[in-house]
Amino acid sequence: MSERLREKLNILADAAKYDVSCSSSGGNRKNDNKGLGDSHASGICHTYTEDGRCVSLLKILLTNHCIFDCAYCVSRKSNDITRAAFTVEEVVELTMNFYRRNYIEGLFLSSGIFKNADFTMERLLRVVKKLRLEERFNGYIHLKTIPGASEELIREAGMYADRMSINLEMPTESGLKLLAPEKTHQQVTQPLGFIKNQIVQFKEERKIIKSTPKFVSAGQSTQMVIGATPETDKEIMQTAALFYKDFSLKRVYYSGYIPISYDNRLPMIGSQPPLIRENRLYQTDWLMRFYGFHVNELLNDANPHLDIDIDPKLSWALRNLQHFPVDINVAAYKVILRIPGIGVTSAKKIVQARKFGKLRIDQLKKIGVAYNRAKYFIKCADSPYQLKDYQGSQIKSFIQAESQSKYLKYDTSQLILF
């Protein structure tokens, strides 16, 4: 019995690992029924795998049987792999017992599509219902929306799940057509739109009737596979920006494609996953969400790709030297945020601290500003007087010469693959 369970867990955790969503934040389910679990606003990463990704949820598929044949997916119909399926009770047992030992924050449940969308969605719903109603589980539940499932099922699932997500997979419609001819972007946008409207509706209702149940309180997210098809960074980030805007998504995840197939439409097995590119895309994503950058400032027709050797904020600053140097003792918070080497925390501290007197270099360093990087872009109380105006390329080489970037060894820019 336990041997079979181990085997299933191995197969179905392995199949679910390419879904990168890991966040357990934003849930606000309180333990008011003296049950198990209480959502923590900021989420907790309970451990990290050896590839450095966080493990906060028990991330498994209900089954890896699938009727679809998407070239980028490890569970595709034509792939010769061991198939397995959990029973509803097994998933509930695993979740409860892992949670009791403080191994996880909750459950991330996805599934291959067996029979049809409604049948699959109904199974997923049974798991979350049992957890919430019978086991009084108040931990975090991230549930996949199955494209094509009926709205009644999605609506009911939303009452029990904290977050729901549905993957866009390919950043452009043409990419998706190439690798998954049976799927379209419309299949994704329709449920995303439905859930978004439901969230708004439930929120409105709660303003009037306090006892309105929660509905997907941690919002929705999606994921795009990077590097499987020849999209530019510009296309990827513009799609992301559009989805943030249209569907009020909490997160868009970017997953560097890990070669898993000998299909000649895809990168070969053994080729390196595009980790640096993925990193740069996440940095851009952060700049859009927390630093007030518009996607077109970072990526446009003149710069369709992000620089590999420097981060996107620095590369924006070097292209726009007319905005610098910024006097950090007078500049607005929004302007300070745009200086390379200054993050959100330091920017807030600077704005607070300068009320008490002009800030000096040593204070900036102590506050946590990466001064060696920021010094080309700022003026403070004791900045040395500088006669020379440096070119962007000069500043870049100064910064690169001093920095200990983990990417310096990949200094050569990547050749165009397609």
Binding site: L9, A13, D51, C54, L58, Y103
Partner: protein
């Protein structure tokens, strides 16, 4: 210049602040009894703990500081660091002398130190919330022993109490020799004498429950199969899970040796 010597308690620290305003001795050096070395050229003053004075200072802090700063103040105290005590003392004197506006003056070394030490403590608190691994014992209690860098048990109490409301648990700080025990209704502070192994209480019974080993094994399996080999990044892994915490983690124990706690 004076040496102020206090007993290391929160009350003692607050009394030292009271004393400074009472006597106005100029610059002082705050030290704890445990580490105090007498100095031939500096007079020394032993701080006497008085509940009333401490309360008065605490009320003053409460009225002058925001909730966030008060939390920082308390966290810095829990760090148990000498420089933390100094920062708290100087910060409190600075606050009472200059008024509540200074709480965010990060240009001041003590305000910044307070914020930095508090951050360290909060980080350790968050790590404990993440890395505690309960072991289900035969007596039905979920047990975990820890030895955190800072005294974070008071900070993690609420989270565990809210979260594990339907199971009995013990979190024991082996370094400071006290623990928390939740008995399904309230959390109590406990002390366990590990040498005596009292038979009556059955606390910290090394015999685990029947299913414990199965779930520990399943968790290890899960940890292995969720890893993507092609993305291996040991540096990042160790950065997120520093090696000194591995002894807590079920997934980092090898098959033959069971966790000691």
């Amino acid at each position: 210049m004076y040496n102020y010597v206090f007993d290391g308690s929160f009350e003692g620290l607050l009394c030292a602040v009271f004393n400074w305003f009472e006597r106005k001795p100029g610059q002082v050096k705050l030290q704890t009894e445990a580490t105090f070395q007498p100095d031939a050229f500096m007079p020394c003053l032993q701080i006497v703990n008085e509940r009333e004075k401490a309360d008065r200072v605490w009320r003053g802090l409460q009225s002058k500081l925001s909730k966030a700063s008060l939390r920082k103040f308390y966290c810095t105290y829990l760090s148990e660091l000498e420089e933390g005590y100094t920062a708290l003392f100087e910060f409190a004197c600075y606050l009472f002398a200059e008024g509540p506006a200074i709480e965010n003056n990060y240009g001041n070394p003590y305000v910044l130190a307070l914020s930095k030490i508090a951050k360290k403590v909060e980080r350790e608190k968050h790590r404990m919330e993440a890395f505690i691994r309960f072991q289900h014992n035969a007596d039905g209690i979920f047990y975990c022993g820890i030895d955190p860098d800072f005294n974070v048990l008071p900070l993690i109490l609420t989270l565990f109490k809210n979260r594990y409301a339907d199971q009995q648990w013990i979190i024991y700080d082996l370094k400071r020799d006290y623990g928390l025990f939740y008995d399904l209704s309230k959390v109590e502070e406990i002390n366990i004498d590990f040498k005596q192994q009292p038979k009556t209480t059955g606390i910290a019974n090394p015999i685990v429950s029947a299913k414990e080993n199965l779930y520990a094994l399943l968790w290890k399996d899960y940890f292995k199969s969720t890893n993507i080999q092609a993305r291996k990044n040991t540096k990042l892994h160790v950065q997120h899970v520093p090696k000194r915490y591995w002894k807590y983690l079920t997934e980092k124990q090898f098959e033959q040796d069971q966790p000691e706690f």
